[in-house]
């Protein structure tokens, strides 16, 4: 039951997060650019591929498909997101998160943004434990 809830919460979050980015790739590319982490050549490619990766991960989590691979990628992705947020907060960059929306309506990233992503990582970590270690 706990695993089922974790899959639906995380899967739902990934699917929801992907929609606006898939609909507005140029705006999402702007958000990726603002993080000032990736080289210019990779910004558009990331803005095109990342939302679809989130969508596929979300759907696979919900339908319980390819779970070992899905959960590993989920954890790696969330660790990358949190790392990028902390890196930019540490260097004082005042930018929109671009996490769930590409519009400027979403507030700038802050500690709450990191806490939100950390809570997703906790859920994802639990799924990793449930799949790779709990069965043993």
């Amino acid at each position: 039951m706990l695993t089922l809830s974790a899959r639906f919460i995380l899967g739902g979050a990934f699917v929801y997060a992907s929609f606006d980015k898939i609909l507005h790739p140029a705006a999402f590319a702007e958000a990726v650019y603002n993080y000032q982490i990736l080289p210019d050549e990779l910004i558009n490619l990331t803005a095109i591929v990342l939302p679809c990766l989130e969508l596929v991960l979300g759907i696979f989590l919900i339908i319980n498909f390819w779970m070992p691979g899905t959960v590993v990628i989920c954890n790696l992705l969330l660790i990358t997101f949190i790392g990028a947020l902390l890196f930019n907060m540490a260097r004082g960059l005042n930018i929109n998160c671009g996490c769930f929306s590409t519009t400027a309506v979403e507030s700038s990233m802050n500690v709450l943004t990191v806490l939100r992503d950390t809570s997703f990582l906790a859920i994802s970590g639990y799924l990793l434990y449930a799949i790779f270690f709990y069965k043993k």
Partner: protein
Amino acid sequence: MYIGLKIGKRAMAESISIQENNLKTGKVTYSQAVWQGGALLALSFLLALSINQLRPERLPLTGNWSIKDRLTTPDGDRLDISFEEAKKLFMEQSALFIDTRSMDEYEKGHIPGAHSLSWHDVDRRFIEVTEDISPDTLIITYCEGAACELSCDLALFLLDMGFSNVRVLLDGWTEWNKGRLPVEKGNDVS
């Protein structure tokens, strides 16, 4: 004694069997994770490229994101202005500054005389803020942070709206504070 040994032997055999089974399961799971992860990434990649191909306004796989290009108008004019130039114009009172950060941030401190027009509120407050501004007024937009996308976005928007003399002070609020220039608080102007 005999029964005890038998139970112990059986428990040990079961334990070994479980361990072997776990090891086997574990190996399968780890290898599954590798090929599934790879397949998932490949699937996402193909899906993303297909969706992008089908879009009416397709995003090119590589874009030009240099500051120079972002702050150059289609006519070839540069929008960015140096801090020293902005400071001079402020002292001469020959430019109007627009703060594109949030109202909260504006109220905590802004360039004296600057109007507040957060990019977040531009749809709602554009007319209210700009109705008294002549289209040929020299406007300098600023925000805070190295990326400073809000001031660039607003500058391009103002140009689209017919303001002909718009410039961007990159990372303006940070530069203003570093330069120890006067600061105003509250929202009397906006």
